[in-house]
């Protein structure tokens, strides 16, 4: 591969193509951001990486599939149902896999999270089958729209809006409510918060409810955008969202959003400007992670702490 071909795309890039790439990248980045928030919140509170988060996203896709395609429930009703069901799933996982290990070493919880992830994947493989299913087509969200020569789906415009709304609601809860104050306290110092009378179990459950609900919203939009659903659907996006959370500074919600955008936009733009590298786009995420960890191990917005998993 010589440099001429590598950089040829720069001169070939038209304004329309560039805008098209930006639209593609922003919608992908917003999806990553929504899922990355789930990783970062659980880490902020529990100091553990919830590896099952990606599989919660996968299960939410199946819930939506069953709601709309099998039971023929209107999609907006299904969306609410999916959020509730996914939140319940998140809390159940926390109850069964993480709570019994509350006072165990952090590594045990981490292993338990990996176990929960495998359990969900294999459960889905066994119950729903390994063959891909099509996420139901929601004509309102999936309709094609064009702004000049830039074309996209209606959902791609919704995704960033939904992200901003979710983020504002979330930041309001964390910064301006009593529960939020308790969450911040738990995340600052778990033991002291418990001594000061914070109901740790309740706060952790609420964290999982919020994280899983965001995962459900993300999964629903993911499904509309990328309609093939399989039991291993969450693996690669999960990995990338986790990287996004680390890049932004794990435990920091705004950081997760920034990380999500860096990854989503970066992945699209690297293909846009270096088409010869289009087979290596996944490597981009891992490269960014390595560089960030090398120069700023706490992530872009991360705070210095002495304890890390």
């Amino acid at each position: 591969m010589d440099f001429a071909t590598l950089f040829q795309a720069f001169s070939d890039m038209t304004f329309v193509s560039f805008c098209q790439h930006m639209v593609n990248g922003i919608s992908l980045g917003s999806l990553y951001a929504l899922i990355a928030i789930g990783y970062t919140m659980v880490y902020g509170i529990l100091l553990m990486i919830n590896f099952a988060h990606a599989d919660i996203v996968m299960m939410a896709c199946y819930f939506a599939f069953f709601g709309i395609r099998i039971f023929q429930i209107p999609w907006f009703v299904t969306l609410i149902g999916v959020i509730v069901a996914t939140a319940v799933l998140g809390v159940v996982i926390e109850r069964c896999a993480y709570r019994p290990l509350r006072d165990a070493p952090k590594n045990s919880v981490l292993i338990s999270a990996i176990g929960a992830s495998f359990l969900l994947e294999n459960f889905a493989n066994y119950v729903f089958g390994g063959r891909p299913l099509r996420f139901p087509k929601i004509s309102l969200l999936a309709q094609n729209i064009s702004i000049g020569d830039v074309r996209t789906q209606f959902i791609c415009l919704c995704i960033p809006v939904v992200l901003v709304v979710c983020l504002m609601v979330l930041l309001h809860i964390i910064n301006h409510t009593k529960t939020g104050m308790a969450m911040r306290a738990v995340s600052k110092d778990y033991e002291i918060a418990r001594v000061m009378g914070v109901d740790i179990d309740k706060i952790i459950s609420i964290t999982f409810v919020i994280g899983s609900s965001l995962a459900a919203i993300g999964a629903f939009m993911w499904g509309v955008r990328y309609p093939g659903i399989t039991p291993y659907l969450g693996v690669m996006p999960g990995l990338k969202c986790f990287i996004a959370a680390v890049v932004g500074g794990i435990g920091n919600i705004k950081g997760a959003v920034i990380g999500g955008f860096i990854l989503g936009l970066g992945e699209v733009l690297i293909v846009a400007f270096f088409p010869a590298l289009s087979g290596y786009r996944d490597a981009f995420a891992f490269m960014v992670l390595s560089i960030i960890l090398f120069y700023k191990p706490t992530g872009l917005l991360g705070e210095k702490t002495t304890e890390k998993v």
């Binding site: 193509s17 992908l28 891909p132 099509r134 293909v271 996944d282």
Partner: protein, 377 residues
């Protein structure tokens, strides 16, 4: 004391009897191993092929006066797992021949094991040349990538396309092989390849490569690859306002391609090995009848027909060899000529690849429809 002696004698006789009994039953059946991706990314293809093998086994269940017993293993669409299950079929189940698999990468992963153990294997739909090249023990029932890629190049040239973009699944030997032979043939005929884009197995977002392709203004896109990814890619191409048609290989011919792709894959064109319209042999009629009986209302896929043929190649091999000696079966499979199989009269060349034609199909009203038949040169 005496009682104890009698008991020992009894026990010993039971043991001997038991041993002879199991030995007898082991000799009554001929074990043929089957390894296919029944779960994972390629599960849809594996399932269609298992149908074909089972049908063939029901229609032709005995050879040399013994029953053929299928030992089916799932290779989970995983290269490492493919090597493991083939080793298990040979060492634990002691099969005398193996049928499988869907997926060139999976077949290649098992290649050295069958070669070292001198157990003949017949591939169902692994179309990469490397599967049989340099391996005397691997045969196959399907045509190979150079042929499939070349046929599509000819066909697309005939349709009058001048500029074609190629999108390949770089981590898939099958896709890269088809794309390469397509491009070689297409360029030789004076056609122009305006872009070659890559993606990875399991990718979900194709908007970036499609936006690049769109900017190059091709007349058509050749995108051989796995059916799930291809269907999602075509769907996203339509969202981006890319109206040109997509062309691909035989992997697309699964219901999952139609399920995931929906309206978007309407009009997509592919090369494949079997169409009801070209079923001329007696075996093809037997196949269609028995298929109709078991899967009412369904259209038999080429994968099912090829898997049926792969089993038949082994069957005729054992029959001609006259024994279950695996080397003798291997030589018989290689020596057989003009076998009347489902996908036409078949003779294997020196590499163990069949010489036969390809069918062109398109998606119309959510179904695969026969378009044309191309003879090998």
């Amino acid at each position: 004391m005496k009682a104890k002696k009698i008991l020992t004698a009894l026990l010993a006789s039971v043991c001997v009897f038991g041993a002879t009994a199991t030995m007898a039953s082991a000799e009554e059946v001929i074990k043929v191993g089957v390894f296919l991706p029944l779960t994972g990314d390629n599960a849809a293809g594996g399932e269609l092929e298992l149908r074909g093998i089972k049908l063939a086994n029901e229609n032709h269940s005995t050879v040399l006066g013994k029953k053929i017993q299928l030992v089916v293993q799932d290779n989970k669409s995983d290269k490492a797992e493919a090597a493991n299950v083939v080793a298990r079929l040979i060492e634990k189940d002691k099969v005398c021949a193996i049928v499988g698999t869907y997926g060139s990468s999976l077949a290649m992963a098992a290649g050295n094991i069958v070669k070292e153990n001198k157990i003949p294997a017949v591939g169902t739909s692994c179309t990469n040349p490397q599967v049989t090249a340099g391996n005397d023990y691997y045969f196959r029932a399907c045509f190979i990538d150079p042929f499939q890629g070349t046929v599509m190049a000819n066909y697309m040239k005939k349709l009058g396309y001048k500029k074609v973009a190629v999108i390949q699944e770089v981590s898939n030997d099958y896709s890269v092989g088809l794309a390469k032979f397509f491009m070689d043939a297409y360029k030789k005929m004076g056609g122009q390849i305006v872009d070659v884009a890559n993606y990875q197995t399991g990718d979900k977002d194709f908007t970036a490569i499609l936006t690049n392709v769109k900017a190059k203004n091709p007349d058509a896109i050749y995108a051989p690859g796995n059916f799930t990814e291809s269907a999602m890619m075509i769907d996203q191409a339509r969202q981006l306002g890319l109206k040109i048609n997509f062309y691909g290989g035989d992997t697309w011919e699964t219901n999952d391609f139609l399920e995931v792709g929906g309206d978007a894959v309407e009009g997509a064109v592919l090369t494949t090995a079997f169409g009801r319209e070209m079923a001329t042999t007696k075996e093809a009629k037997i196949f269609l009848d028995s298929f109709e009986k078991q899967f009412k209302g369904e259209e038999p896929s080429a994968l099912t027909a090829l898997a049926y043929d792969a089993y038949m190649l082994v069957y005729y091999g054992i029959e001609k060899a006259g024994s279950t000696n695996s080397v003798a079966i291997r030589n018989a499979i290689a020596a057989n000529k003009n076998l009347p199989l489902v996908t036409g009269k078949t003779t294997l060349d020196v590499n163990g690849d069949p010489v036969k034609g390809a069918v062109i199909k398109t998606v119309k009203n959510g179904k695969f429809v026969y378009v044309d038949f191309v003879q090998p040169k």
